[in-house]
Symmetry: D3
């Protein structure tokens, strides 16, 4: 079994805000991230798949197909968008790095032909990232 | 004369939109950046100053003082903000990388003690940056 | 379960020297690292914690609290210090990358509220790093 | 147990081509990589070993010895070579990132004194890498 | 005047060989690069243009147009190619980093609408790059 | 004229301390850097040379010769050393990034055959660097 990882980037805005809390409570927990006008990041996404190597092609997964799935299922929905306002799953869930990793897992699960989705890693900044492996 | 460059990062949201144009014209010129909900970036700022080395301290510029000026004049105003909505100079100017570089120059000019501001570089993404040298 | 990783940097001096050996033996094993005046590095620390996402905040761990623990327990003791001379655990243990990873684990263990310490990674240079997972 | 990872780089040319297929079939599967004149990459290799720390040296593995093994077994054979034409194992196997990771594992297995080979990671580009752990 | 720089990457094979010299002379001057089967790199290209900011768009240059020119004039000819065998200008000129920078300048000169080509930088590896400014 | 830049790295310890000042004055000006036990960095050095391309070799400068000069004149003296204690020019000069850039310029000046030394850049950390161009 070999793991193959492909990276992609997307630029998005977001804010952290719990509607059930007061403005002050939100600022206490989320600090500057509670600004409702939003701020943003260049996110880096790493998608890892696992499988046996096809002896004919030498691939664990068709690289072009993997890129297309990431483009169609994730980047077209997240890139150059405001997470809270434009992306359905974040209308009621706070778009933390952790939740974005889970959401991307759900978007990719079952869509990759010939290999098993192994891990989704999301970097919000070079010094902060979340990993989700499906359970 | 020696040049000394210090980097800093800030995360902000923005959009590109010219109010004098139709939605369609904005999309033609600005593409995905015309989304009025905004998207965002991890910006990297490089500030370069020039001067003679102080023989006593070995510094062209007091590093702590330079950091404080960048923090006070730029990061406190731009970091975790929406450029178009939260930052005065971008209420009527489109926050392109070029315009951000000029705006930061104006914010820093005359505020650095003992050395001359030489260049402001702003990276919107690792593969796109603008330089402004004051004229 | 989601993993959340936060990075930090510290700059420190160290040398590799076993008092029980001759100067020559130390140079044979440790090469240039045996210079008793010391040399140094910009270390990068990655701390990974594991846990369930709090549905209210969207966090596995409070990011500010994690940052504060890393600052208080590690950076204030290691940053801008000489490992062998200034840090208690390296007075009798050689500050190799491996030993630094274990020492940081011991400093952080039990100090992170609400999530489990999963892994400590220490980069001495971009091309050399050690991982410790607690056993 | 501690993991220790060392990186190295090599520059090589390669192409993807299955002799049993027509030119058209190769282009359908491999796209631009099917160009028989070859193209190339700066590969990054990460070799991870696992073991107990030697209490005398503080090392899981002698760093110089690990570097020498990687140099002798991998870099001298792969660096500044054309994978398909110069490297024996790729005369009949397509030098995909996945296959290169396995080939390097086979070259290193059993050659590292005092620690167990744990993982081989190969980056073809910063946004594409394969991991192999020996089974 | 503001400078705007855009990066792009291409992967290519090449070798260094002067037909007028013996094999031995080539190896003396070019070392491992003289291998006629070729080796390769992930090149990084930085194109810098200079101009005034258009007050309506906020751009020094239309970013999409700049990307298209780089794609059409450079990447389609160089990416996934063997420099010596596939690219006309390197049939009789050795594709050193310096010569590639000049060749890209010649390919881009006069093709960028609304701004002046200021500098072409080519990285062969992260630790080696050439700059050409047109004279 | 083309510019060619080569990078190298060295790891060194240093501290900032002016013997003419009290301990308190040193801490006021140099903060944590005033620790006399020293701390350290992975420095990155960029050496830029300028010249005409040799039409026979395609080089502005012999790459191997440039590497050898950097190795012999700089790395053998600075790498794995304590700047203040091991390097002659920093016995009486504070090894700030600015002073290191000038010292490296002096070490390289007149030693590079066939091209002109154009610029020395020294990174103390990824977010701080100094440039010196010889006057």
């Amino acid at each position: 079994m070999v793991l193959l990882t492909r990276k992609a980037e997307f630029s998005a805005a977001h804010y952290y805000y719990n509607e059930a809390w007061s403005q002050q409570e939100n600022e206490n927990v989320f600090g500057k991230c509670a600004n409702r006008n939003g701020h943003g990041h260049n996110y880096t996404l790493e998608v890892t798949v696992a499988g046996e190597i096809d002896p004919v092609s030498g691939f664990v997964v068709d690289l072009k197909a993997l890129k297309d799935v990431m483009e169609r299922e994730v980047l077209q929905v997240y890139d150059h968008r405001h997470m809270n306002l434009d992306v359905p799953e974040f209308r009621s869930t706070i778009p933390t790095t952790e939740n974005i990793a889970i959401a991307i897992w759900k978007r990719l699960e079952g869509k990759i032909v010939g290999a098993r989705l192994q891990r989704v890693r999301v970097y919000e900044m070079p010094d902060l990232f979340a990993d989700y492996c499906g359970e």
